[in-house]
């Protein structure tokens, strides 16, 4: 599986960030993991969040392109980074929680792309059980904004069942 070399650093607040560049899309990609993002909810969802890390993927253009470009190494690299994180000592049962960024109304497209990438990528091997949910949030009369979130965790996670139960019921418990 072909992927880009990436740079890894730990930010001052403990966030672990991986960055790489695609010379096809001309974008810098950032994949970051934050173990404190959902920490305030960990008492309510002990299995889902006691070892829960948020995963955030951003990309930033470095120059304008005439049209859209596709680079399969981008998805390979993102999943290679997730695999690397999951194999860190102490991360064997980590739950990686993702939430598609809704701030520019492109969250549905992000979710579709992530689902597609997950199916296409073979290098997650036995890493991952994945679960996702669409949550419609009312913003005004008759108008909802969809949010897409889910989690990835090891297929061998002994708490997989409890994690799934907590994730599927979290909206009723927050």
């Amino acid at each position: 599986m072909d992927f880009y070399s990436y740079h890894h650093e730990i930010l001052e607040d403990g966030v672990r960030q991986y960055t790489f560049y695609s010379n096809i899309t001309k974008r810098i990609y950032s994949v970051s993991f934050d173990s404190s993002f959902y920490a305030e909810f960990s008492e309510i969802f002990p299995h889902l969040l006691s070892n829960g890390h948020s995963i955030a993927v951003f990309s930033f253009a470095t120059e304008e392109l005439d049209g859209a470009s596709q680079d399969d190494k981008v998805k390979n690299t993102i999943f290679q980074v997730i695999l690397t994180e999951s194999r860190l000592p102490g991360n064997e049962n980590t739950v990686f929680i993702y939430h598609c960024d809704p701030t520019d109304d492109r969250q549905k497209a992000r979710n579709v792309l992530f689902e597609k990438w997950f199916q296409e990528t073979t290098n997650h091997q036995n890493l991952i059980v994945k679960s996702g949910i669409e949550v419609d949030i009312p913003v005004k009369e008759g108008e909802n904004i969809p949010h897409y979130l889910g989690y990835l965790t090891s297929a061998n996670n002994p708490n997989a069942e409890q994690i799934s139960r907590e994730f599927n019921s979290f909206l009723y418990m927050i």
């Binding site: 993002f37 959902y38 996702g132 669409e134 949550v135 419609d136 949030i137 897409y148 909206l171």
Partner: protein, 48 residues
Amino acid sequence: MKKVTISPTDAKAIAFFEKITKKKEELRKKIESRLTETTLLKQQNVVN
């Protein structure tokens, strides 16, 4: 994919999504700022 619609009266759920959206936006801005700073510093040959 499972789909759930939040009631307009469910203030806690609405606040939860507002909170994580805001945190994500702050993270994006922080990362973008750091990347910009690093790129600018490299251009000035300050950072190798």
